[in-house]
Structure formats: C-alpha cells, structure tokens
C-alpha cells in the first residue's frame, strides 16, 4: 500500500468538526503514523468498518498509519459528512468507501418519510477484521443498540475485534430499573442525546451475540466514555472485568453558576 502524507488529505470543514467533537486539526492527524488503537493487534486493521464515521476523523488517522487498512468502509447518518468524505477522501484513498446510513435522528437526519431507526450494515457476514464505533453507542437507545450489536457480531471476522465506546453505570445505583430497562436517558426530546447503559447489560449483550469483552479502558474522567473491545467467544484472548472508575477525577464542578466543564473533556469528545 502506498503511504499517503497528511498534507495530501484535506481536513473536514469546521462546521462538520464541531458536530463530531474535537475541532483541533491534531485530532484528525497522525504525525507519528502509529496505530490509533494501540491495544489492538496490527493485523486487525486489515479491513475496517467504521460505524458512525462522521466527517472522517478516524478514517483520516487510519490512512496515515504505517500499517494502513487494505479496505475501509465508513457509514454515517449525516449525509453531508458522507458526501464530503466521498468527495475529499476517496479520491486520494480509493480503497476507502463511505456510505450514507439513512436512519432517523432528530438533529442530523430528520427528513426521512418514515422514522427508520435501524438498518442492517451494508456488509457481508464476517467481512471486517475491525469494527469501530466511537461515540455511537453513547447515542443509541437500548433497542437500537441491541440491533446494532447483532450487526456488529454478524460482520465481524472470526479473528476480528470490535472497538466501541459507551457511557456506563452500575445498575445497583438505580434499583428502580426493572426487567429489561438497562439505559438511562437525559433528554426526552432527543433520547439519543446521550444514553448510559448498565455494566451488566453490556456483558449480557456481548454473550447474547456470541461475543466477549477482551479489553476495557475506564474513562479518564468520572462519567466519561468507556472503551470496550470485544471479540467472538472463540477468540483466544480471555474475557476481562470492567475496571473500577469510581475514583476517576470529577469532570464537573459546582462552583457558582454555570457549572463549567473540565477542559480535558474536549479530549475524550464528550461535548458531542
């Protein structure tokens, strides 16, 4: 694979960067050409499916890796971002494809005639060695998340890994959650604004879909996004427990009005 230089790939326009999180160009760059998820084996980056690729932040970083993907497919519900990626990244990276995932979301894709909230991935069974979903399951309501976990398991290669981020809580703190209630919502107008799942449920979901959690990174700041890596049950890596996160520093302060956010929140993309 011919390596490409950063200056050959344009940065997405600011209005798109604001919608996906950190806007600084360095979050779209990869100057040392490292693998962007260092805890994932190099060979898993062979065929990448990027669920919620936005305006190509991860795509751009992957393309700049020393060991770049042979094949990449990014999907997102924001049509404008997908068109930008098709017009600005694919011409330089012909093995990178981007497809509009035409599902409803109140703020980004509301003009659907019918409120379709889930669609199968445009991918064959066991097609991808790495499925990435950064800040996606943090914005899916429970039944959507369950649908897409099935899809992840379907398209994941036997030796592949799934890398996703989640907001998680301990269900013991919320005993009013009954039966199949496993998510907390904080915005009734747009429930997908942020969705927080129970830790138990994430394990159960993995098992229901023939997967297991093989790596987990607690958020740097309390209440931030967890990084969860899953693989098929047959994968040689052992299942792991979620580490404690209670002692992580608090991101929010109550000093006076306005409750300013901790500046480091920008790094982990919580502002999305």
């Amino acid at each position: 694979m011919t390596s490409i230089e950063s200056n050959q790939l344009p940065y997405p326009p600011m209005e798109y960067r604001i919608l996906v999180g950190p806007t600084d160009e360095r979050y779209f760059d990869n100057p040392y050409r490292v693998v962007i998820f260092p805890y994932i084996a190099n060979e898993c980056f062979r065929a990448v499916f990027d669920f919620g690729c936005g305006c190509g932040r991860v795509a751009r970083q992957l393309a700049l890796q020393k060991i770049a993907p042979e094949r990449y497919l990014g999907i997102d519900l924001h049509k404008g971002m997908i068109e930008w990626c098709q017009q600005n990244l694919t011409p330089k990276l012909p093995h990178y494809r981007f497809e509009h995932h035409n599902v409803y979301r109140v703020h980004m894709n509301r003009r659907l005639r019918k409120k379709i909230t889930t669609l199968p991935f445009p991918a064959k069974d066991r097609e991808f060695t790495l499925v990435n979903a950064t800040s996606v399951f943090t914005h899916l309501v429970q039944d959507q998340a369950e649908f897409y976990h099935r899809e992840v398991a379907r398209i994941l290669a036997e030796d592949g890994v799934y890398h996703g981020t989640y907001f998680l809580v301990d269900r013991d703190d919320f005993p009013m959650m009954l039966g199949n209630q496993n998510a907390l919502y904080l915005n009734l107008t747009d429930p997908s604004f942020a969705v927080i799942f129970s830790k138990n449920w994430i394990y159960e979901e993995a098992h229901r879909n023939g997967l297991k959690i093989i790596h987990a990174i607690a958020p740097a700041l309390r209440g931030g996004q967890w990084v969860i890596v899953m693989a098929h049950q047959s994968h040689p890596a052992p299942e792991v427990e979620l580490p404690e996160s209670v002692n992580a520093p608090v991101a929010r302060y109550y000093e006076g009005e306005g409750t300013p956010l901790h500046p480091e929140l920008k790094i982990i993309g919580l502002e999305k």
Partner: protein, 263 residues
C-alpha cells in the same frame, strides 16, 4: 372520633398493588403514633397529600391520636379518589379527596393537562406530603409543583417528600439545563432521578431548604427530604455523598456470572 376511623376499610388489593406495598399493615396505625415520627405534631394540623393514591397515608393519619383538623388528598387516578371519597370521608369528614386531572399514560390518559394548580388557597397548609410523587415527575413538572408547594404552604409549614437522587458529577455529559435521568422513553415518568444539587437549588428558588434527610435503606432507593422555609430555625442539612448509602453491594461481576452462563 377514633372509634369511627377504625372502621375505615382497607383499600381493595387492585388499588394497593398500584401504589406499592399491599400488606394491610402498611395502611394501618395500631398505636396511633404520628406517621412521620420526625415531624412534630403541630405540623399535622392541615395536611395536603399530593399523590394520595388509595388513601394509605390518609388512613394512617386518621388513626393518629392527634388527627389533622383538615386533610386534602389529590391524585390523578380517578378510581382511587372515588374509593377514598366513598370509604374514608364518611368516617372522617375532615378528610377530603379531589381528582387531580393530569395526564399519565397508565392511569389518566385522556387528560390534556401535564400539570394543574393545586386546588388550595395560598399558605393554607402546615404540611404538604408527597410520597413517591417527585420520583414520577418530569423535570419541568417538578419545577411547576415546587412552585405550587411554595404557594400553598403556611409560612411555618413543611414539605415532606421522597426523591430518587443522583450526583451529576458522575454524568458530565449532562448540560446545565438537564438535571433528571429517565429509564423509560415511552413512559418517562416511570421513574425520574434528580441531581441532588438541582433539588437543593430548586428548593431555594422556592423559598425552601432541607432540614431533615433520611437516606434510602437500599442504594438508589428513595430519599426522604423534609423542607421548610429558608427562615425556619432548623439548620439546613447537606445531602451526603450518594455512595455513602448502604444497600446492595459486592462484586457485580460475581452476581452477573451465573446469569451469563445461562445466555
């Protein structure tokens, strides 16, 4: 009077099931003690019971040695109110009940009203009680009813209410205006959990402060907060850290283990 109130029947089990504990002992008061031991007797003079259900608290208060002079219970369940009117008021005429015609998908789905003013005059009540009510109100409704409590409470009256609370420090994704967590989108008031700091600040906006706190027995359960006017002689109490409360604990992974094997 007490002999008469002892004849108040226990509500039918189908109503009891809807409000929580079904055992008749939770509707009884055999010793005639005050139903909230932490609240002095003078506050029971005029009681407003927001979300009175099928009269659990009303029945217990009617059996107190020191009975309220006036009691008004409101609830959005028309059947329960009718039952209370037919079965409690005849034995305790100072106990009145009114249907509060606001929408709830389960029990009052025809109503066009999300909130309604309390059927009470300003500063008319010495005690407003709201058991398992603010645990089922959306944030904007809770603000509305805080204002109503402030309006109908006597200058030296108190509010006794239960809440699900969380610490927003654990949820940095929440914006300043988002202070409630919901567990059920089709039925958002299934359970509503409020940020503890928001409750304190919202109370202050409505001239109230927390004077007693009873943490939940089980972690994540209902907190009992008693509030009084800002000028009340009792000192303001601070809600302790959420994780300081007792309850279910231990390694959740161990408990989960057996369940995972079944999947």
């Amino acid at each position: 009077m007490l002999d008469q109130t002892r004849q108040i029947p226990i509500p039918p089990v189908e109503f009891r099931q809807l409000v929580g504990p079904t055992d008749p002992k939770y509707f009884d008061n055999p010793t005639g003690e005050l139903v909230y031991p932490r609240i002095p007797s003078q506050y029971y003079r005029k009681v407003f019971d927001f979300g009175c259900g099928c009269g659990r608290v009303a029945r217990q208060m009617a059996l107190q040695k020191i009975q309220p002079e006036a009691y008004l219970g409101i609830d959005l369940h028309p059947g329960m109110i009718k039952w209370c009117q037919d079965n409690i008021t005849p034995y305790a005429p100072q106990f009145q009940f009114m249907h509060h015609d606001v929408f709830y998908i389960g029990w009052n789905k025809e109503s066009p009203n999300k909130t309604l003013a309390f059927p009470a005059e300003d500063h008319a009540y010495t005690l407003v009680t709201a058991i398992s009510v603010f645990t089922h109100l959306e944030q904007d409704s809770a603000v509305f009813y805080f204002a109503e409590v402030n309006r109908i409470l006597e200058e030296d009256g108190i509010l006794h209410a239960t809440w699900f609370l969380f610490d927003k420090a654990d949820f940095p994704m929440m914006q300043d205006f988002q202070n409630a967590l919901y567990i059920n989108i089709p039925d958002p008031v299934n359970a509503v959990i409020f940020d503890k700091t928001w409750v304190v600040n919202e109370a202050k906006k409505h001239n109230l402060k927390i004077i007693t706190i009873k943490p939940p027995v089980v972690r994540g359960g209902q907190w009992v907060l008693t509030m009084a006017r800002l000028n009340h002689p009792s000192p303001e109490k601070t809600i302790p850290a959420m994780r300081a409360t007792s309850g279910k604990s231990g390694n959740w992974m161990q408990r989960l283990g057996a369940k995972l094997k079944q999947i």
